[in-house]
């Protein structure tokens, strides 16, 4: 029995829904009505958010650095693309196939990635994704190379909701998939399994000494994150009905790392909020002046890692804490 002196509410509160979370999830439906001309951008945001979430699961929670998450994004994108091209255009089937293929390759490569320390992991993840990119680039008759897969046709979702020209269906589809996978991730990070991942990140040498099979846990989360990235890739193919080798490109892996650091790794909302900030800023600023965009992005990144290690989420939390202290 719990000693009467101990109040367990802080532990319960950690997993309970905060009012701010409800408010956050009202934003996607609100954006649909407020910005009907930006549905394509908004879908891209949801897809990228899911992709960043996949990196957050391994880097933010388990401490696995990676510069190769685009490998799984690209595998998922092509899996869904191939199915669509050869008449299997059911969207959910495409997601399942993407998750399966990316997850399988994630599982297999995890044994290479998880062997070493940080630098090894960076290089192995980078190397694997470079090999995939070059393979896809060479096999033009299968992948279409830089010109991309032609003739991807998507069937209606559940046989009822077909993808429309305005991107309405695409938007709801991506947002709902993101939301469901977010819920799953949220469950996971608040569970004992999630706690063990944090344990691995904070002190990998202690974990075996309290009886935790570190390798098994890491293989599991790496595989799951690969599946998440694969689904994100599939969503991109399905909503744009296009996939080229660009889905496997290195800059995608680097970009989501940047977004995650910006938003705050180790927090699911950090991944989501970072994506919104980045994508919106990118959309509006890079058009005005691409050089300025690169410059200020670089400057922001440096400032964040030097002075605000927990990114936008960390700054937000600090501000809330300060307000709370000022209030009576």
């Amino acid at each position: 029995m719990t000693p009467a002196a101990l109040d367990l509410s802080p532990l319960r509160r950690a997993a309970a829904w905060h009012p701010a979370e409800f408010a956050f999830w009202l934003l996607p439906p609100a954006a649909y009505f407020l910005f009907p001309d930006y549905l394509a951008l908004l879908s891209q945001i949801a897809i990228t958010a899911l992709f960043v979430l996949s990196l957050d699961l391994i880097l933010g929670y388990a401490g696995i650095v990676s510069l190769g998450q685009a490998a799984f994004f690209g595998l998922g994108a092509y899996a869904a693309g191939m199915l669509g091209k050869y008449g299997w255009g059911d969207p959910l089937l495409g997601l399942a196939a993407a998750a399966g293929v990316a997850g399988l390759i994630g599982f297999v490569t995890s044994f290479l990635v998880l062997r070493g320390a940080d630098l090894t992991r960076l290089m192995v993840t980078l190397g694997v994704s470079m090999m995939l990119f070059e393979a896809a680039n060479k096999m033009t008759d299968i992948t279409g190379g830089v010109d991309g897969l032609q003739g991807i046709e998507m069937k209606p979702i559940f046989g009822a909701f077909s993808f429309d020209l305005y991107g309405k269906t695409a938007y709801w589809y991506t947002v709902i998939v993101l939301f469901l996978l977010f819920l799953l991730a949220r469950r996971l990070v608040n569970s004992p399994f999630g706690l063990s991942l944090r344990g691995i990140k904070q002190n990998v040498l202690r974990m075996p000494a309290i009886g935790a099979p570190v390798h098994g846990r890491l293989v599991t989360i790496y595989t799951l994150a690969a599946a998440y990235a694969g689904i994100a890739g599939a969503l991109l193919t399905q909503t744009t009905q296009f996939a080229s080798v660009d889905v496997l490109a290195f800059n995608r892996s680097a970009e989501i790392l940047l977004i995650l650091v910006l938003g705050g790794s180790g927090s699911l909302y950090g991944a989501l909020i970072g994506t919104v900030f980045f994508m919106v800023a990118h959309h509006f600023l890079s058009d005005i002046n691409p050089q300025y965009w690169q410059f200020w992005l670089g400057a922001t990144l440096v400032l964040i890692v030097l002075f605000a290690r927990d990114g936008i989420m960390g700054l937000g939390r600090a501000a809330v804490a300060r307000l709370g202290r000022k209030a009576p």
């Binding site: 802080p10 532990l11 950690a14 309290i210 570190v214």
Partner: protein, 250 residues
Amino acid sequence: MTAVLETRGLVKQFGGFIATSDVSLSVAAGARHALIGPNGAGKTTLINLLTGFLEPNAGAVILKGEDVTHLAQHQRVKRGLVRTFQINRLFADMTVLESVTLSVCERLGYGWNWWRPLAAHGAAVDEAAELLGTLRLLDVAHEKTRNLAYGRQRMIEIALALAAKPQVLLLDEPAAGVPTGESRELFDTIARLPREVTILLIEHDMELVFRFAERITVLVGGALLTEDVPEVIAKDKRVKEVYLGEALHD
């Protein structure tokens, strides 16, 4: 008495340096056994070999009659062999309650449960809280480990091990660096552990060792010098020479 933990001809080399030299040790069930020796004698290395943190170059480790020499660390923990570290190995950004609950969850096999929130694992949380109560850590249960004073952190080091419900507990200088007053409390806690828990203690403070141990093994230069009851060890000339000279004013 039956041995719960044994080593046979254990050897560990680092490059050309022999850190553990043909060590055959036997720890009886329920023992209060101390392992002493000067700095660099190879005490921590021996613990590392026992727990699987290091692989020996030769020899065997036998736990409850089973050869565990090639088992992974966590598999030995599952079989009841648990250690603490000379230098803290804690979860700095977790609260004290989270850390200890993590250890309890691993023991109860909840570590793979990814669906139910931590707070829903009432039995594990309650057990962790109870342990914090015994170790007088309740008042800091919701504090982050990194914000605690060193003495309390040292206690968490022990809490993590106890949460794994050891049958054999290896304590590597549990009070290292802890102020005297607090180290007394720490040792009282250790002394109160039930007899089912076999304890192998590494400690430099001879007063504490002689008060606690019923059997003492002396390690010098990686090799066993001698092993006996405290009264005999206290009179052993060789031991005095290599180690006790300054500590025991005769």
